[in-house]
């Protein structure tokens, strides 16, 4: 009974995808932030050594014997020693005149307030970090301004940055992996209530139209409440239909029975053969009508119940035995013997009312088409499948007709002269398929029909 559903995408995939994209974007961002931050710190540490170097140079400046002397300490340069052997350039000016150092190393604007100016430039084909500062010396007639500048290549910084980049990449990759695991976990946790709901609904019996009681996450409340609503409405409408059919059956049968009993009383009172014949035909027509109405209602009821089959364990043998017993009087009126036989107890899951209804229709047919003084055998079998077989000694089915007879209102050519609506086999076959079984019609070798209802 599963119907196909139009699928558009997958919630899980959509969620996982947005998590993956989010995590990737975050990871890349994190990588660049770590790197930027580490680069700043690395640059700061180079800057602070450069500052110490230029300060120690300026501190060494002094006026001696009327001119500027500068006994630059060894440490001014040796503190700049790096594992990558970075190159060092420097220049010293006195009031704009070159005192010492690399004359082609350009100076930035430096104020004499003791502030230190950093900048990154290219010098001698290499990127360098340059620090410049100045200091006023008094002691001569006019104060002199000494400006010193030290520049260092950035090889060591580059190596440090490469290391930082590699470490950042490792950290970030770890973060990415963890975040991925987390997303997988988050996705399945988020989807889990939906799967639990699906599971609990799929597991219910067909007749179980009770509302979903287990708590659900708030996002699913609208879905579940409309589902509950739908099931409530469905359940109510099914109840109403059943009530209506029962009510209808009652309403139809009672007036027909009344009409029939009137007809019978009248028949007793009428003597004239002509009138009696007319009355008998009338009674037969009434019976036919009553039967047809009954079958119509049965058919409707079965269609209704088949969609919500209430499966319970039933003892087929007992069920059939009881039924055969109740039909015995009718058979006796026709001088037909109903014979019941079984090889073992057979239990199946099914709806007893529907099964009874189906088999009654089969036996009705057998009674209709059997000659008097014959035997109808009802057999309950366990193997190969649980089944009920009805055998009679009537004319049997016409070979070319077997397939279409289960259609609604279909009657065979051999049926002329018998009362019928063409619904009997339809009901039996509907009941069979509601139980995932089948109805097969065949003829016995020695003649007579053999109808098998198997589950």
């Amino acid at each position: 009974m599963s119907s196909s559903v139009n699928v558009s995408g997958s919630l899980r995939r959509r969620m996982a995808l947005s998590l993956v994209i989010g995590v990737t974007v975050l990871t890349v961002l994190l990588f660049f932030i770590i790197r930027l931050y580490a680069t700043q710190i690395a640059q700061q540490s180079q800057d602070s050594i450069l500052r110490a170097s230029v300060t120690s140079m300026l501190d060494a400046a002094a006026i001696r014997d009327g001119e500027v002397a500068m006994d630059i300490p060894y440490s001014s340069f040796s503190m700049l020693s790096t594992p990558e052997d970075d190159r060092i350039f420097y220049v010293i000016y006195q009031d704009g005149d070159l005192l010492s150092g690399y004359d082609n190393l350009a100076l930035p604007e430096v104020h004499s307030d003791g502030s230190v100016v950093f900048r990154s430039i290219n010098f001698m084909d290499a990127p360098v970090r340059q620090v410049s500062a100045s200091r006023v010396l008094s002691g001569l007639n006019t104060p002199v301004l000494i400006t010193a500048s030290v520049a260092q290549t950035q090889d060591n910084l580059a190596v440090t940055l490469r290391q930082i980049t590699r470490n950042a990449a490792i950290i970030v990759a770890g973060f990415f992996l963890l975040a991925m695991l987390f997303s997988v976990w988050a996705t399945s946790t988020a989807i889990a209530p939906l799967e639990r709901l699906t599971h609990s609904i799929a597991r219910r019996g067909p007749a179980d139209l009770s509302p979903v009681a287990r708590p659900v996450p708030s996002e699913m409340v609208p879905l579940v409440s409309s589902l509950n609503n739908l099931m409530q409405r469905l359940s109510r409408s099914l109840d109403q239909s059943e009530d209506f059919i029962a009510e209808a059956a009652h309403r139809v049968r009672t007036p027909i029975a009344t009409v029939r009993s009137h007809a019978e009383t009248t028949l007793q009172r009428v003597d004239k053969e002509e009138n009696r014949r007319a009355l008998r035909a009338m009674i037969r027509a009434i019976d036919e009508t009553s039967r047809a109405a009954g079958q119509l209602l049965d058919h409707a009821m079965i269609t209704l119940r088949a969609s919500q089959l209430s499966a319970e364990e039933i003892d087929l043998v007992e069920l059939m035995q009881e039924m055969v017993r109740s039909l015995n009087p009718i058979a006796e009126m026709k001088d037909i013997e109903l014979r019941f036989q079984f090889d073992s107890r057979v239990y199946i899951n099914g709806d007893p009312i529907l099964i009874q209804n189906a088999v009654r229709n089969l036996i009705d047919n057998a009674l209709k088409y059997s000659p008097a003084e014959s035997v109808i055998t009802i057999t309950v079998r366990k193997n190969p499948k649980p089944s009920i077989v009805v055998n009679d000694h009537g004319p049997g089915f016409l070979h070319d007709e077997k397939t279409g007879l289960t259609d609604r209102f279909a009657r065979g050519r051999n049926s002329s002269g018998t009362i019928g609506s063409g619904l009997g086999l339809t009901i039996a076959s509907d009941v069979a398929s509601a139980h995932n079984g089948s109805l097969t019609m065949d003829n016995n070798k020695e003649g007579g029909a053999c109808v098998t209802l198997s589950f």
């Binding site: 500027v68 002397a69 500068m70 006994d71 630059i72 300490p73 060894y74 440490s75 001014s76 340069f77 040796s78 700049l80 020693s81 990558e84 052997d85 970075d86 190159r87 060092i88 350039f89 010293i92 005192l99 010492s100 150092g101 001698m124 084909d125 290499a126």
Partner: protein, 323 residues
């Protein structure tokens, strides 16, 4: 025009070493005497017969000037002035070679490779010390000189640091290490010390007895001179001694990059190995006579090349030794 310019340079020594099938000639500018370096060059040409080596000797200060003037003229530079060499590298005159494996402490920027360890020491003429106990430290030398002014007046030799790059290097390192240096210079000055340009001449004058004691001489030169071994004796001061490395670099503008690198690789592999005297006449990096402190290849060396710093130092030195 360049050729005539090159011709005009007055090299102290020059020689062309020919390989068996020599086609390419690499020019080596060096401050080391040909006699000391010849075995190494011969060994190199044996393994690289397709090369010739033109070996040109000048003083270390001249090397510095020549390279800065015409860096494209020379393929290899060898010098004992570590500070000048380091500054050449710093100023971008050296080729960075990634393929040479050398101890970290003996190289700078994979451009400058130290290949000898040579301590500076005291060298004496044995005759003058027949009655006097030879000094074993700077302090003892000061005492010996102070107690025997007549014996040593005019007989003390040392570098003229204004002329000699190596002398300047040793002097500045000495001055960094201890104040004793200045007291020694003062007493040497008061005894009319004679100033020399090179270790070789000091040893010559020591062996003849013209000089009695020399300070800050390369002991490797003294020990290499088998001819004067009976007259002189060298002493490493027990307080401290500076150990110099001869260094080699490949000129950045060399036209024979591969051959020049091959030469440096040959030289450095000798230096870290256990070369025989036939291959390598200088004390290698593994020689045992180096209990002193090796002058390290670091940017601090460049401080003493600063114009102001040098002026200050030389003023002080002159006022101590020239009285």
């Amino acid at each position: 025009m360049l050729a005539t310019f090159v011709q005009a340079i007055d090299f102290e020594e020059e020689r062309l070493f020919k390989g068996n099938a020599g086609t390419i000639t690499i020019r080596v500018l060096s401050s080391t005497d040909i006699s000391v370096f010849a075995p190494t060059i011969t060994g190199f040409l044996n393994t690289n017969p397709e090369l010739n080596v033109e070996y040109l000797v000048v003083g270390s200060a001249d090397i510095n000037t020549l390279i800065r003037q015409s860096p494209e003229q020379y393929d290899i530079v060898i010098s004992s002035a570590m500070d000048l060499q380091l500054k050449l590298v710093n100023d971008g005159y050296a080729l960075q070679v990634d393929t040479i494996i050398h101890p970290e402490w003996a190289q700078w920027r994979q451009s400058l490779y130290g290949f000898t360890l040579e301590p500076a020491g005291i060298v004496i003429n044995k005759q003058h010390f027949s009655n006097i106990k030879a000094p074993t430290s700077r302090q003892e030398m000061i005492e010996v000189l102070r107690e025997n002014p007549d014996t040593f007046k005019g007989k003390i030799a040392t570098y003229d640091v204004r002329q000699s790059g190596l002398g300047y290097l040793f002097a500045t390192q000495d001055a960094r290490d201890s104040e004793t240096y200045w007291r020694l210079m003062e007493i040497m000055g008061s005894l009319d010390a004679k100033l020399y340009c090179c270790s070789g001449e000091m040893i010559d004058d020591l062996s003849t007895g013209d000089m009695a004691i020399a300070y800050n001489v390369l002991t490797s030169y003294a020990s290499a001179r088998a001819d004067v071994a009976d007259e002189i004796q060298w002493i490493l001061p027990s307080d401290f001694s500076n150990v110099m490395m001869r260094t080699v670099l490949v000129s950045k503008q060399t036209e024979h990059r591969k051959s020049a690198i091959a030469f440096v690789r040959y030289l450095t592999s000798l230096a870290v190995g256990n070369p025989t005297a036939k291959e390598f006449a200088l004390p290698s990096l593994r020689n045992a006579a180096t209990q002193g402190s090796v002058i390290s290849l670091e940017p601090g060396l460049m401080i003493f090349l600063d114009r102001l710093k040098r002026r200050t130092f030389l003023n002080e030195w002159e006022s101590a030794i020239i009285q």
